[in-house]
């Protein structure tokens, strides 16, 4: 079974520029998550989708971050404009409908803002 796919793997941008990350969840997984992980900390949930609807985006900085999952499969996370403190790993994850609370993570997209 293919895992959660993310791209790009690494990205370096200057502050105030924009960046977009793409995620393809495990086939058949209705729930998709974006997490932000700053070095030395645990992952922090940014947004959770159920199919193409948003379940929870309470920790998403909406003035600069946006995410969409238009067809209920792939998702994109955008940051515009980026700040230095956005330097982190952005992890996409997905879970099936009957998983207890098991979430499957991708390898992550590493963002450095300079």
């Amino acid at each position: 079974e293919a895992g959660v796919a993310q791209s790009p793997r690494y990205k370096i941008i200057e502050k105030r520029q924009s960046v977009a990350f793409w995620c393809n969840p495990i086939s058949g997984h209705a729930t998709l998550y974006w997490y932000q992980q700053i070095l030395g900390q645990g992952p922090k949930l940014l947004i959770q989708f159920q199919n193409n609807g948003v379940v929870d985006d309470s920790q998403l900085p909406k003035d600069r971050f946006s995410a969409e999952r238009l067809k209920g499969v792939d998702s994109t996370l955008k940051i515009q404009p980026a700040k230095l403190e956005d330097s982190a790993v952005y992890l996409c994850a997905s879970s099936p409908a009957s998983s207890g609370n098991t979430i499957y993570f991708g390898e992550g997209s590493w963002l450095t803002v300079v």
Partner: protein, 114 residues
């Protein structure tokens, strides 16, 4: 979401059994207990999940006392490759299917020495 407390770091040696205990005093009736492992440059990986008593798989065992206010992850005969950060999380299934977006703490950094 229930908060968890676990040691920041632990050391052990190859071949030893390692037990990592997590406290979750305000765990809810519907909450599962899930442990994840994270290596550098990778996303967290599911290890084991339980609700009560004991669960064992090919990787680890999870011990949960009757009051469910704590849990212990047991790794038998660890090797150098078990050096990683281990996260304990509690959460329940989202009512629409899949898992509630989980709240990660800082985890336990386990270091295995030769």
């Amino acid at each position: 979401l229930a908060k968890t407390t676990q040691p920041i770091s632990m050391d052990s040696y190859e071949g030893q059994e390692v037990n990592i205990t997590c406290s979750h005093n305000n765990i809810a009736t519907n909450d599962y207990i899930t442990w994840y492992q994270q290596f550098p440059s990778q996303g967290p990986r599911f290890i084991i999940q339980g609700y009560k008593t004991k669960v064992t798989n090919e990787v680890a065992s999870l011990f949960i006392p009757a009051d469910r206010k704590s849990s212990t992850l047991s790794l038998p005969r660890v090797s150098l490759s078990d050096t990683a950060v281990y996260y304990c999380l509690v959460g329940s299934s989202y009512s629409g299917g899949g898992a509630d977006g989980l709240t990660f703490g800082k985890g336990t950094h386990l270091i295995i020495q030769p």
